[in-house]
Each structure stands twice: as structure tokens, then as C-alpha cells.
Symmetry: C2
Subunit: 302 residues, 2 copies
């Protein structure tokens, strides 16, 4: 390891991952939005300057039909959720990430979208590229790739839920120079086992290892609660660039906010491991071919 | 989830990951080899039919100079370690994976190599593609890609140690149809924290998540002990296709053998998650570009 002292934090932020229980249903839209504003305000009151809400925080998750999803959708940035979040981020001087149902300008396509908002307004959005289960019957797969947004506090990438099951996603954000990845999630009950003896679900480990191998911090917010028979895993967490959680990994039970101090540009340090290894340089892109199809077997080098 | 019962195991094996303490030094070569034979015999006595030894099991790890590494190297399959392992696998009717220093036919290049041997002899080899720290001063980076070998018990891929820090490696083996990945490791002390409250090191989590997202079993053998001031992390483990360890994750302290029963072809099931998600089909290869360089920032979709 390097014997040099680490540089002082040049972009210290207090990050917050908000874990709560929105509920699907048009009759709940106002309550959901109000609740996000309350919780973001609470996080800001406690000093958070980068705040992440779950996937579909403004609407709940378990749409019964496409028609019901349309009734929850909004155009961006004209819709009420986006406008309220923009006003709040401006008022509190924070960066805010949250998920909602986006109705495309064409009035037809629905996206499972996360917005990134800064003190000066809307910075950008990410449309979920890997859709889980019944989402496939409602949403169009994201068509904006994996953008990384330059902000005054650092470069921010966004992911949503099932995306983290695909290691390519965090990798693509990292090679574009993301300093932190904010993941907005509705991690659901998956085939057991759900939690290990450390109280963590596999999605927490997927977040930790994606953070670790890419030397990038993660702020991962998941929801809790139950909705139309489906349950959610909690496990919201924040990791440093070494992948280990800073502070607790949230339980599956509680509405809570996870906080952690991060140097948002720590990911830019060249000396992560030792003086001979560099994650970016060590990649064997000469050997990677992600488009490789199933070939069943290959020639056997002996 | 599917309501169909899981198919009966069509290729049941007992896998064994051998964790022990080889020692570098030409004077120790005979002892190291003898010890591998003892331990593989012990595993076979207990019913193991797929046995994995650590990286560089025949030689130890911490070569002081290139010259010393040459003194430990052997040609394949003519060298004494390879020949002894072939004889043992034939005698016991098992599949065996283990690591050694390979001297290329050119008499010059050294590779950090894992061999796969079956009851009928040598099946193939893998040359470590991602080199850790001082290995870079000794070994040539692997030039055989990421082969998957067809065997009578299933399709076997090989990885070595630092490879697992690169999610592309397991992914490339999985998309070629690997049923199990055998990783031969010398996981070393890395920047702290080393172990969490569950007693696992990050390498164990890298193994678990690589297994989980690729729906492939892992048999990961690491070494323990101390060598010329360097220490090793243990944490040998075997995972099912769901990524969770079957049985214990070994400690960093003990020479031990981890056993688990696997259906080696379970990875071929199409119905892993539910009736709408399929890991292979869900990949957004239209959006992946692993050759993507560092671009610093991208256009901001709004």
C-alpha cells in the first residue's frame, strides 16, 4: 500500500438514503409526494446535501394494469412530482435523486425513471434499462444508456433496482468517471434465502461489490412495506469507494434514513491498491467481449 | 416464481475446496506436492469428485525474483506436479483443479496457470489474465482468454484470484455456458477492513455475487498461512447457482477442506427468477461497451 497520507476531502458531502413506504394508487399520490418532501427535509435538517429516494417513490410500485400506470405518470419536468422536488432542492441547496413514472413526450411510452436535481434545478434523468418482472408489461426499457452527470459536488451516475444485477451497469458508469452511483430501488422478495446472518440481502452485496470493484461510492435507497401482496427488502446502504458499508445496512422493517459522510471525489485517486495495480489499467479489455453469445463450448487449449 | 418442482439433479457431484499452506522455496517443492496429494486423497476419501486446490498450490507464492520463479516452474504436461496430479485424478476418478507456475514451450514466458484434470487426463488449462502486484514483475498476462471446458460432469470454467475483481471474467465464462467456475486463489491481505461481522472477506462477496448474477456455481479455494511477510485470507467457499454459500465460509486461520453437494448442471435451468425475467435475455448488450474509455462526462439527457 501507499505510505502517502490520503488527501484531505475536497468534496465532503453528507449523503442520505431514504427508506420509506409509498403506496400505489391514484388516491395515494398526494400523500406519497408529501411524504417524500417531509423525509427529504428531515435529511436536509440533519445536514444531508446528497439525498436519494427509492425507485417510484412518488407513485408506489405494483401497478395492476398499464392503464393504472398511465394514471400515475407525469411528463418531465412539467409534472407535479418533478416540480415539487426541484423547488425543494433549490430551497435546501441540495442534490436530490428520486424515482417516478415518466410519460414520454410522445404521450405513449412510460419509463421507470430517476431524476437528478441540483440546487439550480433539473440536471438529468436516467431511464431504467433492466426491467423486473411485470415492469416489462408496462414500461419501455430505458433508451438513454448510462449517463454520468457533472455536478458541482462531483460526477453522479444513476441506477435503478434490477440494474445492479448486471455488473456492466456500474462498470459503464465507473469507466465514464462516476464519483458516486445513486441507486433508487424497489428491491423485492426474491427466491430465498433473503437475508444472511449479517442481516443483509443479496442486493446489498451486489451494491457493495459493484462499489468495491469500481472504486466508486454508492448511495442505495430501497423502499420497505407491502403492496398488493408484494414485499420489499429494505437494506438501504451507503458504501465508500472500498465497497464496505459506512454505517448500518437498514433492516427490511423500518422506515429510516441512512446517513454517511463521503468525499465525493475520492474515486479519482490513482493509488487504490498498491503501486503496481490500477483497476482501470488492469482491465483486460483485449479479452472482453460482452456481446459474446452462448457458444456452448470452446476449443480446449492444452 | 415457478410453481414447477425443480428437476432432479442430473449431475450430482460433491465439490471440495482445499485450503492449506504451501510454502515458497525450491527446498519446499516436494513437500508442497506431497501435501496436495494427501489433501486431494482426503477429499476423495470423503466422496469429493470435483476438487479444487489454491493458486500456485505446488510452489507457494512470494517469489523474491524472476530467477526464483523459474526454479519453481514446470512445463505442461511434462512437469512433475502436473504428472502427479494427472496420475492421482486418474486413480481416484475425479476432476481436479490446481495452480502452478507454468514455463511456456518457448522456455522464457512464465504463467500463473490453473490446470483442469479429469479421470482421463489433462483437460485444459487457464493462464491468469489479471495479475496482482509483484506477479506483474514475473508472469506474462494470460493469453488464452477465458475458456470453458466440456467435461463428463459439466462445463467448467477457471479463474485465478484477482480475476474475480473484474466482473467481466465470470460473465464471459457464464455466457459461454459454464456450469461451475473453479477459482484457485491466493487472496492476500488487502486494504482494511478485511473481514466483516459475518467473518467474510470482500473476495468471498465477490465470489458470491459473481455466482448470483451469472446463475453459476463456484468452488473457490484459497490458501492460508504466511509467507515472507505476506498473509492470506482463507475464506474458501462453495456457492450454489443462487450465489449463497453452501456450508461454511472458511476462516483465515485453518487448513481445512470445504465440501458441498452441487448439481453441476443446475445452471442450465431457464427459470431462475420468474416467468418474465431471464438473465441472459435481460442483458442490454445493445447498451454495453466494455471498451469505453474514460470520457469524464457525457451529454446530459434532460
Amino acid at each position: 500500500m501507499s505510505s502517502a497520507p490520503p488527501p484531505a476531502a475536497t468534496s465532503p458531502v453528507t449523503a442520505a438514503a431514504i427508506q420509506f413506504d409509498p403506496q400505489v394508487g391514484v388516491e395515494n399520490k398526494d400523500r406519497n409526494l408529501r411524504r417524500t418532501l417531509e423525509l427529504v427535509n428531515e435529511a436536509a435538517d440533519r445536514g444531508a446535501t446528497l439525498v436519494v429516494l427509492p425507485e417510484l417513490a412518488g407513485t408506489g410500485y405494483a401497478f395492476a394494469t398499464r392503464e393504472e400506470a398511465y394514471a400515475h405518470a407525469e411528463e418531465m419536468p412539467a409534472g407535479p412530482t418533478t416540480r415539487a422536488w426541484i423547488a425543494l432542492a433549490q430551497e435546501r441547496g441540495i442534490h436530490l435523486v428520486g424515482g417516478l413514472v415518466e410519460l414520454d413526450d410522445d404521450g405513449v411510452r412510460l419509463f421507470d425513471t430517476a431524476v437528478l436535481i441540483g440546487p439550480d434545478g433539473l440536471i438529468g434523468k436516467y431511464r431504467k434499462t433492466h426491467l423486473w418482472e411485470r415492469e416489462k408489461l408496462i414500461f419501455t426499457p430505458g433508451d438513454l444508456g448510462f449517463p454520468v452527470f457533472d455536478t458541482r459536488i462531483g460526477r453522479i451516475g444513476l441506477l435503478i433496482c434490477w440494474d445492479i444485477w448486471f455488473p456492466e451497469t456500474a462498470r459503464l458508469l465507473a469507466v465514464q468517471g462516476a464519483d458516486v452511483i445513486c441507486s433508487a430501488n424497489n428491491w423485492v422478495w426474491t427466491p430465498p434465502p433473503l437475508f444472511d446472518e449479517a442481516g443483509r440481502c443479496m442486493a446489498a452485496y451486489l451494491t457493495m461489490t459493484a462499489s468495491h470493484v469500481n472504486n466508486v461510492a454508492f448511495v442505495a435507497a430501497n423502499r420497505v412495506g407491502e403492496e398488493r401482496g408484494g414485499r420489499f427488502l429494505g437494506c438501504s446502504l451507503i458504501t465508500g469507494t472500498n465497497g464496505w458499508p459506512i454505517g448500518p445496512v437498514a433492516s427490511a422493517e423500518d422506515e429510516t434514513i441512512v446517513y454517511a459522510g463521503l468525499d465525493l471525489v475520492a474515486a479519482r485517486s490513482a493509488l487504490v491498491w498498491n503501486d503496481l495495480n490500477d483497476l482501470a489499467r488492469d482491465r483486460r479489455t483485449d479479452l472482453y467481449d460482452p456481446l459474446l453469445g452462448y457458444r456452448g463450448g470452446v476449443a480446449l487449449p492444452r
